[in-house]
């Protein structure tokens, strides 16, 4: 069993694999304070689904007057999140409106016309977080409609609930922000460190978890200092610097780097006793649990070379991204591409007449020089994608198989383990959109699986119908036999 030992050694030595060093491009926004006086837009568009899972169920109707923070749509099912009014005003309607999504397809959306008074509702009220039970605490997070603000948008209450049920021994707060351009978490940590740290303490309390690690990339010394200062009074919270490397913020990378544990494939960090939350989520949790405030606004980075005055803006959810860009001096004629989120994992948007949603960490207007679009060339098998992959996949082999239509072969090369981090596409000298291939293949596999299920269902239904007809026929025959027997008897 010598081989196995060598493998184990290898694993310990190369904890974090692959990764790339994209230009940070954070200078233009990192040193400017968060803008908090963003003017209230004329209309707000609040999609019923801003999270993973089931869309929320509207509880208001067109024409209803609502107050700031009032529940507009309630969470439905186990994995879902509520939507609240970002300001006071009138519900103009519940209609299909383009979603912030690469397809540009519409999604059911509550349209809110602000009355300009910005009047708060009598909400859940203030509370002392540390006298609440974990259940009560989770309920308050759930009522506030909080989702993971790092980009995944997984309902946070669900995660906290999972957490205290499965015994977590480490809570990791992800302040990595390894995507280029984005500085919203950086600014939040610099300006609101105390609130974040209290949010972390609330989470620790709710999870019944002994320790928290706040991971910050070493390219954010100011944020590190601010968080260190805020956390020093609390022995259970440790602020740690992690190397600047994309994708350091991939949750499993952080788990492995900070705890030495490796999350089994197909599993979650909770499987090894670790739970991860984003710093902005910790901030939202503090607001919700201590003050009873729902998640109705967020800090978003507005950046890119096609923006004159890039900065971080705290804006109400439902604001159109076009208004945020205009506020920061957007030059549409210079814009070659709009990106929601960071440039590596974010979504390319066909247009920006779409609302700010909970998971929007950034809106970028990039110039042609920034994106350097180029036609793809044939793969020369240089292997750069292999060394860049943080998961240990062979992107080039997967790509050739997907191109040839051999999706099953691509799966055998680990397609399902791909995290779509774009490191491979980023380093490819032939500019092959590798991640696009992987996203296409994953979608196609999903479609096939659904088609397979449908075939099975059809088979079952057809079989049922055949049996039913058979029974009906037998019953009819029996009746006939009975009738003729009666006739014979009479």
């Amino acid at each position: 069993m010598v081989v196995l030992d060598i493998n184990a050694l290898w694993r310990r030595r190369s904890k974090i694999r692959g990764g790339v060093h994209p230009e940070p491009r954070k200078e233009s926004t990192a040193d400017k304070p968060i803008v908090t006086d963003f003017p209230l837009p004329e209309r707000l568009y609040l999609p019923l689904q801003q999270h993973l899972g089931q869309p929320a169920e509207p509880v208001v109707r067109a024409g209803d007057k609502v107050l700031k923070g009032q529940l507009l749509a309630a969470s439905r099912g186990a994995v879902s999140a509520s939507v609240h009014a970002s300001t006071s005003g009138t519900v103009a309607g519940i209609e299909e409106y383009p979603a912030p999504h690469p397809s540009g397809l519409p999604t059911p959306t509550i349209v809110l016309e602000p009355d300009g008074e910005d009047r708060w509702i009598e909400g859940a009220g203030e509370a002392d977080p540390f006298s609440l039970t974990p259940e009560e605490l989770c309920a308050r997070v759930d009522q506030a409609g909080i989702v993971g603000l790092g980009g995944a948008a997984f309902p946070s209450a669900m995660k906290l609930n999972l957490g205290w049920r499965t015994r977590i021994n480490t809570l990791i707060i992800n302040g990595g922000e390894c995507e280029p351009y984005l500085t919203c978490d950086d600014r939040l940590m610099r300006e609101r460190a105390a609130e974040i740290v209290e949010g972390v303490r609330i989470m620790l309390h709710g999870l019944q978890c002994p320790t928290a690690l706040i991971a910050i990339e070493d390219n954010k010394p100011e944020a590190y200092a601010a968080m260190l200062d805020a956390a020093k009074k609390h022995g259970r919270i440790e602020v740690v610097q992690v190397p600047s490397l994309y994708p350091m913020g991939w949750e499993k990378n952080l788990v492995t780097h900070l705890t030495g544990k490796e999350v089994p494939a197909g599993g979650r960090p909770t499987d090894v006793g670790v739970l991860l939350h984003n710093v902005a989520t910790a901030y939202a949790v503090q607001r919700a649990v201590r003050y009873g405030r729902p998640l109705i606004s967020r800090v978003v980075t507005v950046s890119g070379e096609a923006v004159e005055a890039p900065r971080n803006v705290e804006a109400p959810l439902g604001t159109l991204l076009s208004e945020l860009l205009a506020f920061c001096g957007h030059k549409p004629e210079r814009t070659a591409r709009y990106v929601m989120g960071g440039p590596m994992m974010g979504d390319h948007l066909p247009h920006v007449q779409v609302p700010l949603v909970k998971r929007t960490s950034g809106i970028l207007a990039l110039t042609p020089e920034e994106i350097q679009a180029a036609d793809a060339r044939p793969c020369i098998r240089c292997g750069r994608c292999v060394s860049a992959c943080p998961v240990g996949l062979l992107p080039l082999e997967m790509m050739t198989r997907i191109r040839a239509g051999q999706l099953d072969a691509a799966v055998s090369f680990g397609l399902r383990d791909c995290i779509s981090c774009s490191s491979c596409s980023y380093v490819c000298p032939s500019r092959i959109p590798l991640v696009h291939y992987f996203k296409y293949a994953s979608g196609e596999l999903m479609a096939r699986q659904q088609a397979q299920q449908k075939t099975e269902q059809t088979n079952r239904l057809a079989e049922e119908k055949r049996r039913r007809l058979e029974r009906a026929k037998q019953a009819a025959a029996a009746r006939k036999a009975q009738a003729s027997a009666k006739e014979d008897a009479s």
Partner: protein, 359 residues
């Protein structure tokens, strides 16, 4: 191309677009090439130019026939590099048609019939070299003595034209390579000590390159300098060169210690012939070598082993071309079976077990 639905990854990550990579490889070859051209004079220059130009020309014709945008693909520099590497592996005073035939074999048979860049199974330059060696053994093993430019014994411009294009013999200058010489002498029952007794070949000469040999292979030192520069530029990784050279050196050491009279030492093996060029420039060809680091280690070691075996016991004096081609053929197999470990999985691809106490 639908640009609308392209996912992002938009930054200038490709600081090494394909043509820049090719350009840097060519640049790394310049010292060894310049030395070779100087050492073997005008005939070498004529042969070199003929080979490179015909490689580019064949590429252009093939692209035209295939209906591909010639400008886009010609500019990637891959044909130039293939022609260049082939020229460096030819006997410097070989006639012009060796260069043209070789370039045609490399570009057409070695690369374009597979579908062009990135599709070929075998290293085009080595394919051409081996095909030439098998088809024209006389021309491919007639080596010129070093006759540096402007020195007394060097052929002039016109005389050189006669050597390259006119079919004039080079009898007066002919010689054998180090490894060829050793092999011939050994086969006549002499020991290595006797074979090198006349002082025709010195170890320092082999490393510096003042010996007969292929156009660009003679100076192991200059080739290695270019290779190390490529490593530093991160154009190639260390895996293939190190495993190839280490394997050759290790085998040579072991056998030399066993019987110094019959087996050349490691310094001779590394310094003479095409090993250095193969290690840094030929076996490291992206297209025909494995993609994963572990696969590359295996590939390099395999090349090293085969080079040593063919040199020592094979019928040909030099084994680089055959060794690389044989390992090229194994590349898809290596790539299929040797994969990096995936995060959260063991080496067999099974998910890792949960730690104790968890279901």
């Amino acid at each position: 191309m639908s640009k609308v639905y392209l996912p992002v990854a938009p930054l200038t990550g490709a600081d090494h677009p394909v043509q820049a990579i090719m350009a840097q490889v060519v640049l790394a070859l310049v010292p060894a090439t310049a030395f070779g051209l100087f050492l073997f004079g005008w005939p070498a220059l004529y042969l070199f130019l003929t080979t490179v130009l015909s490689a580019v020309l064949f590429e252009a014709v093939c692209l035209k026939l295939a209906g591909k945008p010639a400008s886009l693909f010609l500019l990637d520099g891959s044909a130039l590099l293939t022609g260049w590497l082939l020229a460096l592996s030819l006997p410097p005073w070989a006639p012009w048609w060796i260069g043209v035939t070789g370039a045609g074999l490399a570009i057409i048979v070695g690369k374009q019939i597979y579908g062009g860049i990135g599709q070929n199974l075998f290293n085009p330059a080595m394919l051409a070299r081996v095909a030439l060696l098998v088809s024209f053994p006389l021309e491919m093993t007639t080596w010129a003595q070093p006759a540096p430019l402007f020195s007394g014994q060097a052929p002039g411009l016109l005389q050189a034209l006669g050597i390259t294009f006119g079919g004039a013999g080079i009898d007066g200058f002919a010689s054998a390579t180090v490894i060829g010489h050793a092999k011939t002498e050994l086969s006549q029952g002499k020991t290595l000590v006797e074979a090198f007794a006349n002082g025709q070949f010195g170890l320092a000469g082999a490393w510096l390159g003042w010996i007969p040999g292929s156009l660009g292979e003679t100076s192991a030192l200059l080739v290695a300098v270019g290779g190390v520069w490529l490593l530093r530029k991160r154009i190639i990784t260390w895996h293939i060169p190190v495993s190839l050279l280490a394997t050759v050196a290790a085998l040579a050491t072991v056998f030399h210690l066993i019987d110094g009279d019959r087996y050349l030492g490691p310094l001779w093996h590394l310094g003479a012939g095409g090993v250095m060029l193969a290690a840094f420039f030929i076996a490291t060809d992206y297209v025909t070598s494995p993609g994963s680091p572990k696969g590359q280690l295996i590939f390099g070691a395999g090349c090293g082993l085969l080079i040593f075996v063919i040199r020592t016991w094979g019928g040909f004096p030099e084994g680089v071309g055959f060794a690389v081609l044989l390992m090229n053929a194994l590349t898809p197999v290596i790539d299929y079976y040797v994969r990096p470990r995936i995060y959260g999985r063991d080496y067999k691809g099974k998910p890792l077990k949960l730690p104790e106490g968890k279901e």
